[in-house]
């Protein structure tokens, strides 16, 4: 076994410091070392996006990155969506518009949508579809996810978060 590296990062606003083997994938680090199981694994070929997290403000597939690479980074997972006690407008949108069924893709979808709205607060339907094109959903057919993002976009424009 290769020697362990100390990884220091900030996740959902909290500083954490854990040693890990270099080959440990970021997704396993988050789920198993840090105990945040909201981030999921849906494939082994970097195709599904269920593992999407925000790394220094950008979406990445945490199954296609080593935890050591995230040393010093700031990460946000679904558990860290800013909420001030209530649901984030995106979470609310997914609930209102029935943007989830089994919920397995949902954390990744939320993170991708969050990043999309940061970059483009008022996206068109086509832009939303492109924005979530790295996230597969087997249940919803995406239509209500699109509506959920539109819901959040409106709500945030009205002075949500």
């Amino acid at each position: 076994m290769a020697k362990k590296e100390l990884i220091k990062l900030k996740i959902n606003g909290k500083e954490r410091e854990v040693a890990a083997e270099p080959r440990l994938l970021l997704v396993h680090f988050i789920r198993e070392q840090l105990g945040l199981t909201g981030t999921h694994v849906g494939c082994d070929t970097s195709n599904c996006g269920a593992c999407t997290v925000l790394l220094n403000g950008k979406t990445v597939k945490s199954c296609t990155m080593f935890a050591v690479q995230a040393d010093g980074a700031e990460i946000m997972t679904v558990e860290g969506l800013p909420s001030n006690g209530a649901l984030h407008p995106l979470q609310e949108g997914f609930k209102e518009e029935h943007g989830l069924q089994c919920g397995f893709c949902t954390p990744g979808m939320l993170i991708s949508s969050y990043a999309l709205l940061k970059k483009n607060p008022n996206p068109t339907e086509a832009e939303i579809r492109w924005g979530i094109s790295g996230n597969l959903c087997r249940c919803t057919g995406y239509q209500n996810i699109v509506k959920a993002v539109q819901f959040a976009s409106k709500k945030m424009a009205q002075g949500g978060k």
């Binding site: 199981t37 849906g42 082994d44 558990e79 649901l87 029935h98 989830l100 397995f104 094109s133 087997r138």
Partner: protein
């Protein structure tokens, strides 16, 4: 049906889902989220060959790796008589290979280590020596004299599994000789896979102090699985607890029992610690329950006016290496004999032969009831071919042949009794939504300009809700399902069912049924499923059976509670029961609405002020055996545009008009339809699990087993008509599967329609751009 207030949110309200909050916050609890103290990990060693003698397995190097705890082989299992396990359909399947392997990715050894990474490393160190055997891939060659016999464990030395026929052959043949038109189509429904976003897996936790085995399992049928584990493993059933946690999609994939589960259980029994086994996506696609692989020929006999007289079907079914079809009917081809469709004609004959090949086992009911998708696809394809032969409009041909509303209950020539239907209503609504006349005109004009556009119709009839005990069982267990309702003193409730949601929203819809029947607000009703220690016995969720069975059981159990509540109300109001009237939420004295007792007051009294002669408490259980299946239906219309230069197909519009009887939650129904249509889209245009001549699987990962993204998925247009089921307690039919059953034919019919003027009558799925391009090239249209 009485529509309750929004506060109560009974049936018909688009109540927001109660289960969502945890999923939205990353707090769902899927099987890979289960972490137990001292838990270790399993990893499967799989065969690289499709057919090979297993000469030796050397585990020495792997065992030496620090952190490796155990390596289990087929020989080890054989000692405990566990090397084979029964499938759900009168066959058996190897847990770990002994003697030989029969498909690529077959389970050969199970490595257990302290962590996932070590287990993967050790699996690579297991040395297996194989001697390759001739491979059988083409099902059409399975019965050839020179075909290798795959299953030498069986008494019959043949690759033939079954021959099954149904219907009146003589009458059918006669109709064909007498008819003016005989339309024929050969259609392969390709091998595909349900591929829920979460793969299968389990955590087996044997506690040697209590002698209890708890299995956290991605199971669509936890109770049936408990019983099977008990029967096969010889563990007393009371000592097994199956917990099906949150499930990340099932679609039929999570009905069978897979070798990995058995290995994890054996490892936990051996090591006395919890063992987690989670399959990878590639393992999921390459080794667990595939669907379809039906090679079908259909013929329709009709007169010159287009009236259908008879149908004849011959099908070859590729079941892979073991007949692991997860299907509980008495018929080897399941409900395939609903292939006569939505049409009225007197004669039909259908025969199916099943064969073994060197492919992964399965034949599961992928988002449908046991071979219904194949059946619906076949008849809807055949009707379109008939329309082409007759030069008739496919909508008008369908209209001409529909079973009429007055004919229900309608007995089909192959023996099913459809409960209710108004097929023309759905057709007319769909034609109206798409603007059929105008769009046909547009097509005509485009054709003149050399542009390719097509319109495809599918008027399917589904059969769901397995099912009546006389026809359906799993290993002898009848296909009833159950509900148990307990009302707390404060008027809130907890209910448990024998089914198991995988995203369908049971925690909401069942609560709405209780709300409808008892007037307790749905938000005050907790639904629990999946824990065999607490939930009443049931057969699980697949085949759109939850609403038809557990949903019905919930209504009936609630009605039992209402009966008792009435007695308590009469006592509290000092009135006679006959003088009481019910409206959701309260009993009141006829003509004196002020004299009333709410269900909450009644619940409180059930524990505090019990009428003499009555038992305390307020609860009920029901086990519901449906008298028949329910038969949802609908008409789908697809409009496609084809790019002549590249063969690309764009779905411009898709209209889905569904009829699933009375609706519990319109929002959830619409969501189910969106999802099912998207799966249909993928099957029609993208998906195939294929094998080369050596039995090497392709399409075995998400790189090549394509799941459409939001970009390829069109904007679905949905509509409903409502024809209640006459035999269901609240007139509902299942809906989750209709879109997956009904849509493939609409997509294919649209593409064929776009090319029909070139003489094209059929294209097999998946209709990829290159297939279209090849046709255009051959016809000199492109290239």
């Amino acid at each position: 049906m009485h529509k309750t207030s929004v506060e109560i949110s009974g049936m018909g309200h688009s109540m927001k889902r109660k289960e969502d909050s945890r999923f939205l916050q990353g707090r769902g609890n899927y099987v890979d989220d289960v972490n137990l103290p001292h838990m270790v990990y399993g990893h499967m060693v799989r065969s690289p060959y499709a057919h090979a003698k297993l000469k030796s397995i050397n585990t020495e190097a792997a065992k030496k790796l620090p952190g490796v705890l155990a390596i289990i082989t087929g020989e080890d299992l054989a000692k405990a008589n566990l090397a084979w396990m029964p499938t759900l359909f009168f066959d058996k399947q190897m847990v770990l290979a002994t003697g030989k392997v029969l498909f690529q990715a077959q389970e050969v050894a199970f490595v257990v280590a302290e962590d996932r990474y070590t287990a993967a490393d050790a699996a690579e160190l297991v040395e297996v020596e194989y001697e390759e055997l001739p491979v059988l891939v083409d099902p059409h060659k399975a019965m050839d004299a020179d075909a290798p016999i795959l299953r030498d464990d069986r008494e019959e030395k043949s690759n033939h599994i079954f021959h099954w026929e149904v219907g009146d052959k003589q009458a059918t043949d006669k109709a064909f000789t007498e008819s003016a038109v005989n339309a024929k189509v050969h259609a392969v429904f390709q091998r595909c896979h349900p591929a829920p976003l979460e793969t299968c897996g389990c955590v087996a936790d044997y506690n040697n102090a209590t002698e209890r085995l708890t299995i956290y399992l991605t199971s669509q049928a936890p109770h049936a699985h408990r019983t099977l584990f008990s029967i096969v493993g010889g563990i007393p059933e009371q000592n097994i607890r199956v917990v099906s946690p949150d499930i990340g999609g099932g679609f039929g994939n999570k009905v069978p029992i897979y070798p990995g589960y058995v290995c994890a259980v054996v490892a936990s029994l051996t090591l006395g610690v919890p063992v987690k086994w989670i399959e990878t996506r590639s393992e999921n696609l390459q080794s667990t329950g595939f669907a379809r692989d039906y090679h079908m020929t259909a013929e329709l006999a009709a007169d010159k006016t287009g009236k259908i007289k008879a149908m004849r079907v011959k099908t070859l079914a590729d079941h892979g290496a073991f007949n692991a079809a997860a299907q509980p009917t008495k018929f080897p081809a399941g409900l395939f004999s609903v292939c006569t469709g939505s049409y009225d004609y007197p004669a039909a004959f259908c025969e199916v032969d099943g064969v073994y090949t060197n492919k992964a086992p399965g034949g599961i009911a992928y988002r449908c009831s046991f071979r219904i998708t194949e059946a619906a696809y076949l008849i809807e394809r055949a009707v379109d071919v008939l329309a082409l032969d007759l030069k008739m409009d496919p909508a008008e041909l369908r209209r001409k042949n529909y079973i009429q509303p007055a004919q229900f209950p309608y007995k089909t020539p192959l023996g099913w009794t459809y409960d209710s239907g108004k097929y023309e209503g759905a057709l007319d609504k769909a034609l109206g939504m798409v603007g059929y006349k105008e769009i046909r005109k547009e097509q005509e004009e485009k054709r003149k300009k050399g542009e390719l556009m097509g319109i495809g119709i599918s008027s399917f009839t589904e059969a769901v809700g397995a099912g009546p005990a006389h026809t359906f069982d799993i290993a002898g267990i009848k296909m009833f399902d159950s509900a148990e309702i307990r009302i707390h003193p404060t008027g809130k409730a907890i209910c448990r069912m024998g089914t198991k949601s995988q995203g369908q929203g049971h925690e909401t819809t069942y609560a709405q049924i209780v709300a409808q029947e008892l007037g307790i607000p749905a938000k005050d009703v907790i639904i629990e499923e999946g824990d065999t220690d607490t939930a009443p016995y049931g057969l699980g969720t697949y085949a759109s059976r939850s609403t038809p069975t557990s949903g019905a059981a919930t209504a009936i159990a609630a009605r039992k509670i209402r009966e008792k509540a009435k007695k308590i109300a009469a006592f509290l109001l000092e009135a006679s029961e006959e003088d009481l009237e019910w409206e959701p939420g309260k009993f009141f004295v006829k003509g004196a609405p002020g004299k009333a007792k709410t269900i909450q007051e009644i619940a409180f009294a059930a524990y505090t002020n019990i009428p003499p002669g009555l038992e305390a408490g307020l609860e009920a259980v029901n086990y519901y055996d449906p008298p028949n299946l329910t038969f949802p239906f609908g008409t789908y219309i697809c409009v496609v545009d084809i790019d002549k230069g590249t063969g690309e197909i764009k779905v411009r519009r898709f209209i889905a008009v569904d009829d699933c009887g009375n609706v519990i939650n319109p929002m959830i129904v619409e969501g189910q339809i969106h999802g099912g249509l998207t799966e249909g889209l993928a099957i029609a245009f993208m998906q195939l699990i294929d094998y080369d001549e050596n039995g090497n699987v392709s399409g075995g990962s998400f790189m090549d087993y394509l799941i459409p993204t939001a970009v390829e998925t069109p904007h679905w247009e949905t509509g409903l008509t409502c024809t209640p089921s006459p035999h269901h307690p609240f007139g509902a039919k299942g809906v989750g599967e209709s879109p997956n059953v009904g849509s493939p034919a609409a997509f294919v019919n649209a593409v064929v329609d776009a090319l029909s003027h070139l003489g094209v009558k059929h294209i097999d799925m998946p209709i990829t751009p290159w297939k279209v391009w090849n046709i255009l090239k051959e016809k000199g249209i492109t290239g």
